[in-house]
């Protein structure tokens, strides 16, 4: 008889979820933002993304095969996600060799030194970005490949912070459609929200982290705007949610599984923490944007949050 009789402990059926499917969904959710970015900033966007993805996948493969001597795990697509997210955090005109260094730091230091997928305490793409931001501050804030009619060559957050123009002069509809300067993935606010809705529908993420981050930021901005009154009451919160990496960070970076808390209560605490730190850096810090640092700091707090935020045990109050 050719048939095999299997034996295994229960359960004997599986829901069909897989890491590959989840990562595939994330890639799909990132595509609209990539399209907007390409449309606004031109073909360099695609090149940057392609280099980042290829470098991430290659480094993961090499490290798995030749340093860990394990079978390669690139099939789970997690390196592809890291690559896209890394590219989304870079300016469009960045030299190719910086992208490759970023990918090496992201995969090599951010992910593999801790044991690979699921073991990394910090978001790999963010690790790469923060390294580049500190190591190559000039190239990382060179937005000249940006939208032709922006004169300053800097992002809106930086302009507002430097007092080049005020928040009340901003056209929010244009902002939503991607008409602003910034990293590749930051600019298509509407597309990012679309991707977020897709992830929510596919149950890849839950609402807790993005909503708590954005709500905290909006509330914080509202408190600050309370002093000024008038239409700033809605303009300042809206500006902070749409400008910079707020949406990209809240929907795609902060929700990274292995670096975010496991329970819903934990996720809310984590989200509020990110929102607060981001706003503090944006308003009073040395950098115009604080999303990456905020996520990075809260990543470090995740094990602690996991320790204290346990799920509610059945039968207890």
């Amino acid at each position: 008889m050719a048939s095999r009789l299997f034996a295994a402990p229960s359960p004997h059926i599986h829901g069909g979820e897989s890491t590959r499917r989840i990562m595939g969904d994330v890639v799909l959710a990132l595509l609209p933002a990539l399209c907007v970015s390409t449309y606004v900033l031109g073909w360099r966007v695609l090149l940057t993304t392609a280099i980042a993805v290829a470098a991430c996948v290659l480094f993961e493969y090499l490290i798995q095969r030749f340093m860990f001597k394990r079978s390669s795990t690139i099939g789970d697509l997690s390196a592809v996600v890291t690559g896209i997210l890394l590219a989304f955090n870079l300016p469009a005109g960045i030299p190719w060799w910086i992208i490759i260094i970023g990918a090496l730091v992201a995969i090599g230091i951010g992910k593999m030194t801790f044991g690979g997928l699921g073991c990394n305490p910090f978001n790999p793409a963010l690790t790469g970005r923060i390294f580049l931001l500190i190591a190559y501050p000039v190239q990382m804030t060179d937005w000249t490949t940006g939208i032709p009619d922006t004169v300053s060559g800097s992002t809106m957050l930086a302009d507002v912070k430097a007092g080049v123009y005020g928040v009340s002069e901003i056209d929010f509809v244009a902002m939503l459609g991607g008409h602003m300067n910034g990293s590749l993935g930051e600019i298509g606010s509407f597309a990012l929200i679309l991707g977020g809705i897709y992830l929510l529908c596919r149950r890849v993420i839950t609402w807790h982290i993005p909503v708590s981050i954005l709500a905290t930021m909006a509330l914080f901005a509202l408190c600050v705007a309370a002093g000024e009154g008038g239409d700033m009451l809605y303009k300042l919160p809206l500006f902070h949610i749409l400008a910079g990496g707020a949406l990209l960070g809240a929907i795609f970076m902060a929700t990274d599984y292995s670096t975010s808390p496991m329970t819903h209560t934990g996720m809310l605490i984590y989200g509020v923490g990110i929102g607060l730190i981001t706003m503090i850096i944006r308003l009073w810090g040395a950098y115009p944007e604080g999303m990456s640092f905020a996520i990075f700091i809260m990543n470090a707090a995740t094990p602690l949050i996991n320790k204290y935020c346990r799920p509610k045990r059945f039968g207890t109050k």
């Binding site: 799920p311 509610k312 059945f314």
Partner: protein, 448 residues
């Protein structure tokens, strides 16, 4: 619509294969093997020897303690052997083998078909009859029913819950029983209410079985069964878990172990058990047969059979058209909580509500990958545990920490393994952790 408060999954129920097949009576086997452990608790002790003649329904093994159950001969004939044989898992168990000669029943058993509703026995007499008949929970846990009905001093039952949920995918034996033996079931519920001295009984049925809900409601109205109601519940696995069902129906949560359902005034019995209780009390018929579903995607004739215990898995499978070609997994029970059967010559026993054949690609598990900490297992756990952590602790043999994280609360429903995108065998390890921790707790109790 009500359901239990936390966790849970929605597996495809796959009941379509056998749900429309009316219960068929399976022909009598020529030989049966009756294991002495068919229940939770101490094994029964054989009271027959090789060469003895036995009648159908005759006591052949005596319960050995309070938490144990009597065992009766399912056929009439001669005892061929009392010895050790492998059970479905291939584990060696004491069994009584009987060769059939005709089908002569013990005289006191009433084999007539008519419904006998009146019951004027006292609760103690009812419980004694149930104990004599060897009735155990037929949902799969096989806890002796008389133990469940004996309420400890100082506690009081307020509500009887009948489990007609059958949340396991594939299985349809309870469903068919509710449809075809509804009146016996309801009379059984009346008897159970009398034994427990409760005024209210709720039959919980998931809303993927609307016809069963409607049918039982109609019978209740027609037969004027007082105090019994049918509650449709939102379909969600593991609704049939005792604690989940109580929470779904009464809204009250049983505290963590060692608290029992009676602490919230509830007693839960399976729908098929209720029919067995009816037969034991009103017809003097011991538990010697049950309805078993044989099902699977590649099974030629899936159906529901009324069969005597001791029939082999092999003969039931043969009746349904044999095992499909290729990779197969034979399950005693449903796909979520059923146990793998490797010795198909072994007998079917009291706790077997169905035999599910998983075939083809589904028989083999997915390849294990690294945990990505997605927390899906945490969100589906109906007991509010952290399966990824419990599995890791058990893997590293950190039993004390597993105990701190309440591993003994686990009801082994399998939602965590089902949902894991990395195909990790979470429950395999948690089960080891749970067993070890429970052993440690018992050892500490003995020391004290």
């Amino acid at each position: 619509m009500r359901t239990f408060p936390i966790g849970g999954i929605h597996p495809s129920d796959n009941k379509k294969w056998s749900k429309d097949m009316a219960i068929e009576v399976m022909e009598l086997p020529d030989e049966v093997a009756i294991p002495m452990i068919q229940h939770i608790g101490a094994p029964a002790i054989p009271i027959v020897a090789k060469g003895d003649k036995v009648l159908t329904g005759q006591l052949i093994a005596q319960a050995s303690g309070f938490v144990s159950a009597n065992i009766h001969s399912p056929i009439s004939g001669t005892v061929k052997a009392v010895d050790i044989f492998p059970n479905g898992q291939g584990l060696h168990r004491q069994m009584i083998v009987i060769t059939r000669e005709g089908d002569e029943w013990v005289e006191s058993i009433d084999r007539s078909k008519e419904l006998k509703r009146e019951c004027s026995l006292t609760p103690a007499e009812i419980i004694a009859k149930i104990k004599d008949a060897g009735v155990v929970g037929m949902g799969g846990a096989t806890f002796p029913t008389h133990v469940k009905l004996s309420i400890p001093d100082g506690q009081k039952a307020e509500i009887l819950i009948i489990n007609g949920v059958e949340c396991e995918p594939y299985l349809t034996s309870d469903y068919r029983t509710m449809l075809e033996r509804g009146e016996e079931l309801l009379t059984g519920v009346e008897i159970l209410m009398r034994a427990l001295r409760v005024e209210r009984a709720v039959i919980g049925v998931e809303n993927n079985k609307p016809d069963a809900v409607a049918h039982l409601r109609e019978l209740i109205a027609k037969g004027n069964y007082r105090g019994i109601e049918v509650m449709a519940l939102k379909t969600r696995y593991p609704q049939g878990g005792e604690k989940q069902l109580i929470a779904a129906i009464t809204g009250r949560q049983v505290a963590p172990p060692p608290a029992l359902p009676i602490s919230v005034g509830a007693v839960v019995c399976n729908a098929s058990t209720s029919v067995a209780v009816y037969e034991a009390v009103q017809k003097n018929k011991p538990l010697i047969e049950r309805v078993v579903t044989i099902t699977g995607k590649d099974i030629a004739h899936p159906s529901n059979y009324l069969l005597r215990f001791g029939v082999s898995f092999k003969s039931l499978i043969a009746k349904a058209g044999g095992l499909p070609e290729g990779d197969v997994k034979v399950l005693n029970g449903g796909p979520m909580m059923g146990r793998s059967v490797v010795a198909i010559d072994a007998p079917i026993i009291k706790g077997c509500s169905g035999v599910t054949i998983i075939s083809g690609a589904e028989a083999e598990r997915g390849k294990e990958q690294a945990c990505i900490k997605c927390a899906k297992c945490v969100s589906v756990c109906p007991m509010g545990l952290e399966p990824y952590l419990l599995a890791k602790l058990a893997r590293k043999q950190l039993w004390d920490r597993a105990e701190e994280h309440n591993t003994i609360d686990c009801i082994e429903c399998g939602c965590c393994s089902y949902t894991c995108p990395s195909s990790l065998p979470l429950l395999d390890y948690i089960r080891i952790g749970k067993q070890t921790v429970m052993g440690n707790i018992r050892a500490r109790a003995i020391k004290k």
